[in-house]
């Protein structure tokens, strides 16, 4: 209990400092004290029984370490790391594949230009991942497995991680051959296979021939898409009932929106709508052979 008291006095000191104008600029009133208290008020382990780390935790870690090292050693004895011909900058292999963990991004090149697939999209992924804890304000499901209380979060993560990231890596690794054409596993790679490129830009399809007009058309489509997306998200959330799985917010949808605030709503909406955009672009490509939606002299999307 001593540490608890020490902590409270630290909070008092911090508050005094804030009142004196010290840290006040950086932390909103009250925010600072909440933060300091956080490490003491651990989630978890309320009335739960505690075990000695030695031997209980160290034992399982030790066994797991041995198991992993054995598996790794056997694997390394059986399977050699690849080493191909010496590097030769004049002979480009077809296909040239990035390391497997980046193949999801390389697969995106089918649908987007490199500046988007290779630079903007990965930046969204990294920043979006980092923001998750700040965007998700649902206090439920902290420290235990639950689907019911966090359906929305888990489904979003599932779409982003399992579908977009993992399954695209699998496609890039096993289903792409020369010319980045689709080959089934076991199918012979025919390097001379030519697939007709019949893709057409969406504005062109709608009869726009002039650059400016098609740029305006494409841009309005994209802006419209975001407007519809935001509106859909807004009304969908507002109509959430108060019960499960939103029980953390007894006021239902309106309360969620109020607690969420416009900044969180804006950023979450942007990330989700951009993510859904990948699927829409893919669908347009597969169904209608659409190449770009927005065509300008500088960028195409």
């Amino acid at each position: 209990m001593a540490s608890r008291e020490g902590n409270e006095s630290a909070v008092a000191m911090r508050a005094a400092g804030a009142a004196a104008g010290g840290a006040a600029a950086r932390t909103p009133a009250g925010g600072g004290s909440k933060r300091i208290e956080a490490p003491i008020k651990k989630t978890g382990g309320g009335g739960e029984e505690k075990l000695h780390t030695w031997p209980f935790l160290v034992r399982s870690e030790f066994l797991m370490a041995i198991l992993v090292i054995i598996v790794l050693t056997v694997w390394s004895l059986l399977l050699n790391a690849p080493l191909e011909q010496p590097s030769n900058p004049t002979r480009t292999p077809n296909p040239s594949k990035a390391p497997w963990y980046f193949l999801g991004l390389q697969e995106m090149l089918v649908f987007f230009d490199p500046w988007y697939a290779g630079v903007v999209l990965p930046s969204f992924i990294i920043v979006g991942l980092m923001l998750i804890p700040y965007l998700d304000i649902n206090p439920k499901g902290n420290g235990y497995y639950t689907f019911r209380e966090r359906m929305f979060e888990i489904l979003s993560f599932f779409i982003g991680f399992h579908i977009l990231w993992v399954s695209f890596i699998i496609i890039g690794t096993f289903f792409r051959g020369p010319g980045w054409n689709w080959f089934w596993p076991g199918q012979v790679w025919d390097p001379h296979l030519v697939e007709a490129l019949t893709n057409v830009d969406l504005p062109y399809m709608f009869g726009f021939r002039d650059y400016l007009a098609s740029a305006i058309f494409g841009l309005s489509l994209i802006v419209g898409y975001f407007v519809v997306g935001y509106a859909g998200l807004y009304y969908w959330i507002r109509s959430r009932p108060s019960g499960d799985p939103w029980s953390a917010f007894p006021g239902g949808g309106p309360e969620i929106l109020k607690k969420w605030g416009p900044v969180r709503f804006g950023i979450t909406g942007f990330l989700l709508i951009a993510m859904a955009g990948v699927f829409i672009k893919m669908a347009l490509r597969h169904a209608l052979n659409i190449k770009y939606i927005l065509v300008t002299p500088w960028i195409n999307i």
Partner: protein, 257 residues
């Protein structure tokens, strides 16, 4: 001749000043010793001396954070071994790989373990992130440790990616070419990207040239990636891991209230 008394010898050793200076407490299984085992040991001290019951369960953590760290350590150890035999120059790099595989004792095994542990680390870190997401462990007060985790994830990928070039074979230079071509397409900063005219970047002076150390992939790239792979990224990853572990220690494992 006195009969040799094993217990007496053992007692003499464990009572000696040298022994006592190293091992501070006995091994009896007492609650006190159980705590001292952890708190008196710099490595085990990464742990708290007591943990909640659920945190020990494999079902909760899948042990994936720990496995990621273990695989990282494996790559450090095997990587040092490889460094003894590998020269990061275009003339020697590939030949050294062959030499390592065919002439060095355990060379092939070390290379395989290094490679597969690195791949395993990428998979383990994803699974770890997945588990942390599924248990909602990024929620307050652990938001920032999740951010540190994302940085570690990026560093893990960068470590793997820079290492990919080092064998200097067809696989490595073309994979790295494809990967780095993205940098060429960076808006503003890459010479193939949109708005590149604004800053006037060109193939010898743009984002990709910064990564390659020149307009094309070449010996300069090899040296650059070698230093990033063996010194820079491991160091940075180590620093972030220290922060990561420290914060887990401070905040405790997440768990049901």
């Amino acid at each position: 001749m006195a009969k040799f008394d094993w217990n007496e010898t053992k007692r003499q050793i464990t009572d000696s000043q040298a022994w006592q200076s190293i091992f501070r407490h006995g091994y009896e299984d007492t609650p006190r010793n159980r705590i001292l085992m952890v708190s008196g040991n710099v490595w085990l001290h990464l742990h708290p001396s007591k943990v909640q019951k659920h945190a020990v369960r494999l079902r909760f953590t899948w042990c994936m954070g720990g496995i990621t760290f273990l695989l990282f350590l494996v790559t450090v150890v095997t990587g040092v071994y490889l460094m003894f035999y590998y020269r990061p120059t275009a003339e020697y790099a590939y030949a050294d790989m062959k030499y390592l595989e065919f002439d060095m004792p355990f060379g092939m095994l070390m290379r395989n373990m290094h490679r597969w542990a690195a791949h395993g680390m990428v998979i383990a870190v994803w699974l770890h992130m997945f588990r942390v997401f599924m248990t909602g462990s990024y929620k307050p007060p652990r938001e920032f440790n999740w951010v540190v985790g994302v940085i570690l994830l990026v560093l893990t990928l960068l470590l793997s990616f820079t290492g990919y070039l080092l064998p200097w074979d067809q696989l490595s230079i073309w994979a790295v070419t494809v990967g780095s071509n993205m940098a060429r397409a960076t808006p503003l900063l890459g010479h193939g990207g949109p708005f590149h005219e604004v800053l006037g970047v060109n193939p010898v002076y743009d984002a990709r040239a910064f990564i390659f150390g020149g307009a094309e992939i070449g010996p300069h790239t090899l040296l650059r990636f070698y230093i990033l792979h063996c010194i820079f990224f491991p160091l940075i990853a180590g620093i972030f891991m220290a922060v990561h572990f420290w914060r887990i220690r401070r905040d405790g494992m997440s768990g049901p209230l």
